[in-house]
Amino acid sequence: MSYVFIFKTKESKNDRKIQEINNQNQSNNRPPNLIESSLSKNLEVIKQKTGNSSDIIIRPLKIGHNSQIKIAILYVKGMVDNQSVNDSVIESIMNNQNLSEKLIPQDVLEVLIEDVVAVGGIKVVSDWEKLFTALMSGETITLIDGISKGVCASTQGGQRRSVQESTTDVSIRGSKEAFNESIETSIAMVRRIINNTDLWVESFNIGKMTKTEVSIMYINGIAKNEIIEEVRKRLKGINIDGILESGYIEQLIEDQTTTTFPTIYHTERPDTVAGNLLEGKIAIFVNGTPFVLLVPALFIDFFQSAEDYYERFDIATAIRFLRTVIFFISLVGPAIYIAATTFHQEMIPTELAIIIAAQRESVPFPAFIEALIMEITFEILREAGIRMPKAMGSTISIVGALVIGQAAIQAGIVSPAMVIVVSLTAIASFATPSYAVAISARLVRFIFMVSAATFGFYGIILVFIMLIVHLCSLRSFGVPYMSPLAPFIREEAGDTIFRRPIWAYKKRPRLISGQNRVSQGEDQKPQPPRTRIMKNTTNVEKGEPNES
């Protein structure tokens, strides 16, 4: 199957490539857009191209002996770091001794680059397209009269949100930092964790209009080359107007679109990204969003949080078990209640069955309708709560809890047992660590409810098997979605709903990382000292060995 799949994508990619080539040909047919040597003409072109936009600052200067050479400095207001433009570019040019000597324009260029502009990143461009890309991304351009080249100094800056605590992946233990909207900051945050030359970054500009910077990051030697190549290919195949968030990329490069389950992981936390990179996964950073994508993503990844690895393994395992149960409840909670009360009353202990029957006596609807009313009400409350201004939040909870909960029971629209079931399910769906998988569980829950209402447990089981077949048929960048549970890989199953001790992570995942699979040395298990001498400090000083 996988073969067929790869073949198909190749075909479509080829089509896209052909389109791209056509586009390039079209652009090549236009007259060559090289910078001219006359400064006034160049400025004219810039003004015309940008529609004389008011945020583009053009600062003319005169330098050289008798100030006979005209130059112009250009930048976009707000995109640059004002201080470095003023200090490192404008001031250095105006005050530099070398520039006031007798110079021909050609020398000015060299002197500018070598002696004057005090900025780290500097480059010389000769065509308009590159010049505009640089200008629009916050660099400062210097144009010299008589030379058909521009000097770009990287002075990017301006106001960005500072590094703050994560709001979506909250943890009790571990780093509190979260990525922010600036791609440079985000990449640097991961680099700070993995100090290694093998951490490689590749950049692309995606989006015909937005030209958004997208970078992939992986550890050379750990990540699988085929998967890296596949990611590159899929990213290069994207040809749309704009990338506004990593969600755009996610939807354009996923393996299968006809599923409610996410096959690409996204996170805000640098430590999660670093941990996944160490397993051989590939991170995709998109400028303008704090959410970083991780591929390939397995189903089980969505039930793990970074914190699991910081707690001791027994506690983490217990928590992961709890999460599995939680996910189950959020999927089939109301469905089981519906099936039990409508079809299989004999399964409920007699006393409870009588109580439920007494409660439901005054309710005019069948259990399914009752559940549907409560579920939809709850979904409305939740959706309202997300976009509600914080000051109004308490109103929602009062309306939700008191008016709808209590009053609905008193009015005889729903039974108290149903309120318990629905609220439990709702809380369960919040307890799933990943929002992406919780939201798909929310959708699937309704299918379960319909099947329970029509065929009882038989319906639930059939839908359940179908769900598992569906999950098993998914792949994320060629890796089976349910691995390492199905196909079962014994040495990796320890990091699924269990979390083995850190010292037992001897190898990296087989399907994800490439050739280099040994992740830690032998004998990482801590052991108590063999001798009791440690207590006595004098003996240790004498040089008694107490290695384990």
């Binding site: 199957m1 073969y3 067929v4 079809f343 299989h344 004999e346 399964m347 202990p349 065929f455 009882g456 447990f457 038989y458 319906g459 089981i461 059939l462 098997i465 179908m466 598992i468 077949v469 098993c472 048929s473 089976p480 349910m482 549970l485 199905a486 196909p487 079962f488």
Partner: protein, 385 residues
């Protein structure tokens, strides 16, 4: 054949789930009364022999499904007819499993629901799965096997805790001698469920390590035989012989007698879970074998396309196969064993193995200069991959 590979572990699980599938559902070997477990165990030994026959054929032709090697052994015309008969046989068997299951649901849980609706739902699920291919089926089995395993253990625990097992029900052993036991074995348990592993002949070419096929298959048959025998023994010891001969679904009756701590009772849902999953796999495998067999026989390139029409045929067949449940069971236990199972599971494969053996011996004599016999060489080569 699709380009798929399954692992030895997956084969093990598929065989176990397949064997347990509908055998847990219906009363098997009940003619042997309290010695039913013994009849199952002897049937299991017979199952080993049959599996060795099928494996023998596989080792002569490790890369092609039976529908193809039948033509190589028997010649194109006769082979094609035989292959067609086998495909029909698989279709018929999957319809039988579906009917068994539908009848179980109607008698025990859904009295007012039409058989057609219950069967349709199951058939749709099976069609959906088979369209996804054997790899997905194998992966699904790995996940659901864990579920079945946990359910089985917890049911066993509950049965033991509720103290309903009475070993005295199993006595006397061999009350009327070994004869009725052997008779039950050779009229029933040998073919159903053990002889039905013949459909794995269609699956074996997908194995990624052919050298392990023999060992894994025997292990799986042994494991499932032990489970079936112990389940039957528990059924008899809980219900006693008189009740069990009257019960259409002994395991269900056993589970219904569980009562622990005053509130864990009527655990019918356990039974539904176990049987739905078991029957699902049994049907999927039969159905997959018939779809792949048909595709191979009639040179259809995309076998997934056959899933819908064949699924529809099986659905209709499962309804029309018998006019009521007693007729269905009577057919299953007496007519089918003699006229279908015996020739198709035992006689023809043994004859085929004999012919293949003679044919290959001739070939070997011709190529006696070769250092390696061709068959073994092939196996070694594929293992390296």
């Amino acid at each position: 054949m699709e380009k798929a590979k399954i692992s030895a572990y997956q084969l093990f699980i598929l065989i176990v789930l397949f064997e347990l599938g509908s055998a847990l559902l219906v009363p098997i070997a009940i003619e042997a009364k309290q010695d039913a477990w013994l009849a199952i165990l002897i049937g299991m030994v017979g199952g080993f022999c049959l599996y060795l026959v099928y494996h023998g054929l596989y080792s002569y032709y490790p890369d092609i499904p039976p529908t193809e090697y039948l033509q190589k052994i028997m010649g194109s015309f006769l082979g094609k007819i035989l292959a067609f008969i086998y495909v029909l046989y698989f279709i018929y068997l999957s319809a039988r499993v579906l009917r068994d299951f539908g009848e179980m649901l109607i008698t025990s849980f859904y009295w007012d629901t039409p058989l057609f609706i219950l069967n349709t739902l199951m058939a749709l699920l099976v069609i959906y799965t088979v369209r996804k291919g054997i790899e997905v089926l194998a992966r699904t089995s790995e996940l659901l096997f864990v579920l079945i395993f946990l359910l089985g253990i917890s049911v066993l625990f509950l049965i033991v805790v509720s103290g309903i097992i009475q070993i005295s029900n199993l006595k006397p052993v061999l009350e009327e001698g070994i004869k009725p036991v052997l008779k039950t074995t050779f009229t029933q348990t040998l073919y159903f469920p053990f002889g039905e592993v013949i459909i794995f002949a269609m699956i074996l070419p997908y194995l990624n390590r052919p050298a392990k096929v023999k060992q894994i298959g025997l292990l799986a048959i042994g494991f499932s035989g032990l489970i079936l025998a112990s389940v039957m023994a528990i059924n008899v010891s809980v219900l006693d012989v008189n009740n069990i001969t009257r019960s259409p679904f002994p395991l269900l009756s056993t589970i219904q007698t569980i009562e622990v701590a005053g509130f864990l009772e009527r655990l019918d849902v356990y039974f539904i879970l176990i049987t739905v999953i078991g029957v699902f796999f049994k049907m999927c495998l039969f159905f997959y074998a018939s779809v792949v067999g048909t595709a191979n026989l009639f040179k259809v390139k995309e076998s997934a396309r056959l899933a819908f029409p064949l699924g529809l045929a099986i659905l209709i067949l499962s309804i029309t196969i018998a006019s009521n449940y007693s007729e269905h069971i009577k057919e299953g236990l007496h007519v089918i064993t003699l006229y279908l199972h015996l020739p198709l599971q035992v006689i023809i494969p043994s004859l085929l193995l004999l012919i293949a053996f003679i044919k290959n011996k001739k070939k070997k004599r011709k190529q006696s200069k070769n250092l390696f016999p061709k068959r073994k060489y092939r196996l070694v080569e594929r293992d390296k991959k």
